[in-house]
Subunit: 250 residues, 4 copies
């Protein structure tokens, strides 16, 4: 018998990929597929132990409140959480002993690991730059993930008491050295055919270390969601970010 899983937002594109992922996993049982007009009580009737929520900012708070009340753990990929919303979720789980809620902005496990490893590596290399690659329809540059990665590197450098990166550039075309994110250069490539890719390069005497993440299609969040589903019961309370589930050091 596997963990009993309900999927909320089950008929959206993302939700469908989650449904398929749960169905293929031998240790998980899909017991409920909920969408916009379905009643949440179905989850209770079906005995759901964990739900996955990829719905909308409008719906998600009600969903979490209901599930926590009924002792159902939550793995949430829906966006729109600010400090206030997180505080509210925290107040719910505090009253409901043992229930775990994971809210993560990014479930692509390779991206989460890239960020975590970048933080760990940062203090050993005097140089660090980030290059991200996306399809040309992306509206922002650099990507939020790349900025977040650079901020993590910058923080690790500050904690280690490291100064500015070595860079003797005296003559430069505008933009050549990338965007400056707290002292870490970030370069954004927009390329037909690509999906979402990030490369972090570290350098010191005689060597470099490169950590690269490639997302080839839009289902790359599924393995991370399943990690969440399998482990949420062991993380009571509110957890923000998948990395806390990966057994890595911060």
């Amino acid at each position: 018998m596997g963990i009993k899983v309900g999927v909320l937002g089950a008929r959206g594109r993302v939700g469908e990929a989650v449904v398929a992922g749960v169905q293929e996993a031998e240790d998980l049982d899909l017991v409920a597929e909920i969408d916009r007009d379905d009643d949440l009580s179905t989850l209770v009737d079906a005995g759901a132990e964990v739900i996955v929520d990829f719905t909308t900012p409008d719906a998600v708070m009600g969903n979490i409140e209901f599930c926590v009340e009924h002792g159902i753990h939550c793995v949430v990929g829906t966006t729109g959480f600010d400090k206030e919303r997180l505080a509210k979720v925290r107040s719910w789980v505090e009253k409901s002993e043992g229930v775990g809620v994971l809210i993560a902005p990014n479930f692509a496990i390779s991206a989460v690991l890239t960020m975590a490893f970048a933080r760990q590596a940062a203090r050993f290399f005097e140089s660090a730059e980030v290059i991200e690659f996306h399809h040309p329809n992306k509206l922002d540059a650099p990507s939020g993930t790349a900025v977040h990665t650079a901020e993590g590197i910058a923080e690790a450098r500050r904690e280690a008491g490291m100064g500015a990166q070595p860079d003797k550039t005296a003559q430069s075309l505008e933009g050549a050295r990338g965007a400056d994110v707290e002292g870490v250069p970030v370069h954004g490539v927009r390329m037909s055919g690509m999906v979402a890719h990030e490369e972090v390069i570290f350098g010191t005497q005689g060597q470099t270390l490169t950590i690269r993440q490639d997302s080839y299609d839009r289902t790359s969040f599924v393995p991370g969601v399943l990690v969440g589903v399998r482990n949420v019961a062991e993380h009571p309370g509110l957890t923000v970010g998948l990395d806390a589930y990966l057994g890595l050091e911060g």
Copy 2:
């Protein structure tokens, strides 16, 4: 005032790079350069707090014994340590409270991190392969580092209860799928112009994670040695492998 450092094997090619590295580091003071015919008592006279030993299997045991006896910490890159030798070193440091000895087979920090990250990532990806690239004068294939990395991945997979990697290959030219190291394929490339490079690739649904290490010249061990020198005093007793100094999880 920096840490007072003595270098043993100071006139060998490796030792010369260590000497240069110590001299350039603002927080380290080079107080002694010892080679084959020099007297170890120079170290005591010079007030060395830490020594770096890149000498020979013949010389290294005497050097460590002398230093531990005189309360000098040791960072050792010399090869040839088997269980017996390690036990002997351990017996010396046990008698000498607070003295630290670091013996590491690989000081290239990018290589050590690659191995450590590979171990951490392994259980999240059903596929994992290692490709190493070296100059064509290398005698063994795959490299010891690549085999060691693959073994680490295999161990992490076993601990996580993972089975064999997915691979439907039915028709194959001999060698196409690489060497099998405990179920992890390892490929060795021999390429004019290259020095020493290792790439670990992990894959799961819709995504891959690549960790790559490039050594561009033969001084790439220096930053790792300096990490050793700076931290050995805080690691009393015998430590084998630089990773224990990097604050990473195993």
Copy 3:
């Protein structure tokens, strides 16, 4: 007014992608979509100037014969052409002045260019290896494209009078050095999440050249098909392989 294009095999998965590609191209007009049970005369009625054929080995010969007879140029991706079949097609086009037929085993333009550039580069580098990466459901290793690439490199090396590649490997785990394709090592990686990728690495003193091709999804043949459609009228007679249309040197 654009070139009038008919698509044969229009309701297969590949055909659908071709149809979409033709519809999006401003200089092309889709005038006919033919599948299994449709009458070829539709092509004539619609005024098709060029057809694209992704059907079956059973159907393709009849399709080509009909089109050539009616003065319609053919771009063919259907498999199963041996010397006999090619000779038959050649005999048809010889009778039909000015009609062009392009039969290509690979329309992924990045893969075709990788092979072409590899041939051009080969004689300048003493080392050359090929690494291909595919999803784990692939049945053969190495891929046909990788073998073909290696054969092209080997031929260019022979023509330039080059000997064996430098390789001092004396001790090796079985398979570590890859499959030997006419003296060129070929390595096959099987990786969850990947689609189809090929990397050719060349090395000589102090430098390497890497040519890499990544296919991220199954529509990567479309741009090459469109190159065929746009240029087939200027290549009367039978042409085998897209490279002849790319204005490259062999």
Copy 4:
């Protein structure tokens, strides 16, 4: 008996690498090593057929004039050639039937091929970007080679009637999208440990093509110089740029 080669600037760092390269080549005979104070007539006495000149802008014109007059072919890597100087060299070789002079700004054969392949590939891909990687002591960004590569891509795009690259970026940190070189984004990375590396990425539907060049040390120009030495006699007159010797299409 090999080609008789004289090296000018033989005791400079670059010249020394050329001398070593000629000595190791079985089909070449080193017959003269000339430096600042040596007499050029030594070349004639030694029977030099080809000279390699890595001297200074001050010395090089006299050297070429002397060699051309004496029927000795020239392979020149010295910098400082403007239109006037090239015109003067051209006037000399015109008078001296059959003598070849090759003047090249870049002898790193992998870099020259990268540029040539980039030009060939450009018209098949709607997206193209250049990333160059250098040590942090480099003064200019992007590198001259990267700018030159981007200009070549831009020219090939114009010749093929291609418009602007697709890029929906609406929100951007300054510099994130690189420097704009005639519509081709160019990114410069400055990284401890690296030497000189260039990556050109092309993208179209479902696929990318990457051409990457890595220089690992400062002798990477030697193989290109030897290509020059072996072929200069077959290229009478003045040739600018090594690519003309590589049998590639422009």
